[in-house]
Symmetry: C2
Subunit: 164 residues, 2 copies
DNA sequence: GAACGTATACTCGGATAATTCATGTCCGAGTTGACAGGG
DNA sequence: CCCTGTCAACTCGGACATGAATTATCCGAGTATACGTTC
């Protein structure tokens, strides 16, 4: 089991977008440059975020991506599911109904114990991710980083002030 | 994010092995036949379980696999990690230290907020899996299935009694 | 009848292909902003 | 000075290669059993 690399990128980009001017869009090249990511590939994940309703994409000059709603209402789970898909990681193939000792289907009402345990764990994982929001992640960063982010988003080509 | 198919197979096989005679080994062909699984591929996962110390493999006639310890002491997490590996699903590549707005390494003491949230979710997932044991899964099955399993393990070629 | 040696059959283990999915990259469609020209 | 039409540049979106991991399979190494032979 391995999570896509894009999850990390998407989360950091969403946190960065909190610092953008309200209503302003940030192009993907600016986002990619901030973290040194390949913009061509980052586009793929940003597209998924837009399709999932987490971001809003705008075309043309002054276009780009912006958060679709208040950062307080964007959970980490929203971002993860946008990139990874909302399909459960464990899929029960009902092997109890196959093979020499197959159990008749009419005796398999609920999910088997194995699937139930996996589903419970998946729910615990999702509940944990749902309890964190993009706003909370942004608040955990020091104010100095917010300043640098705002300066960069306003003018990516200008030199950044040195660290205090 | 997708879990390997082998996780389901491994869990069901471990639950089935609870019904084996104490000290007796069950060959992989018998395990595969019970659930109608490809024995050649199942061998790969059983090998992983043996390497992880969940099962004990024995060669030669009357050989096969048996549980390495009491089913109460085998958690579902043990089985999942044996098959999937114990590597965390989320790997932080420290992208905050890269790109145009890279943060100096000496200012990155602990993990970043994004990684922390993912690690917490991973811990919740593992804790959930750790709270379930192979013995618990076996106990959740009806007694009739235990009977059928014991009969099959004792003589896989004999016809099974019909369902009551 | 018991012990021993051999051969056999059965088991796991590692090495080897095929397929699927994530990764990485590119170019085209669409849209907005800017500019030049005219009123 | 203001309005309008055209143009151009910038943006995203989908289509196209690449690589790795999972899936799937086979054959060889090793071992305990069973049998036949001998004492």
């Amino acid at each position: 089991m391995k999570l896509s690399q894009g999850v990390e990128w998407a989360l950091h980009c969403c946190v960065l977008l909190v610092q953008a001017e309200p209503g302003a869009a940030v192009p993907r090249t600016t986002l990619a440059g901030y973290y040194g990511l390949p913009d061509a590939y980052l586009a793929k994940h940003l597209k998924s975020l837009a399709a999932a309703g987490v971001l809003i994409a705008t075309s043309g000059p002054r276009g780009g991506f912006r958060l679709a709603r208040d950062p307080k209402d964007i959970t980490v789970l929203d971002v993860v599911e946008a990139v990874e898909g909302s399909a459960p990681p464990f899929v029960c193939t009902e092997i109890r109904q196959r093979g020499a000792c197959a159990v008749p289907a009419d005796r398999c009402e609920g999910p088997c114990g194995v699937a139930q345990v996996m589903y419970d764990a998946d729910r615990a994982w999702r509940d944990s991710l749902r309890s964190a929001t993009v706003a909370g992640l942004s608040d955990s960063l020091p104010a100095a980083l917010h300043e640098r982010a705002r300066a960069w988003l306003k003018n990516p080509s200008a030199p950044l002030p040195p660290f205090a």
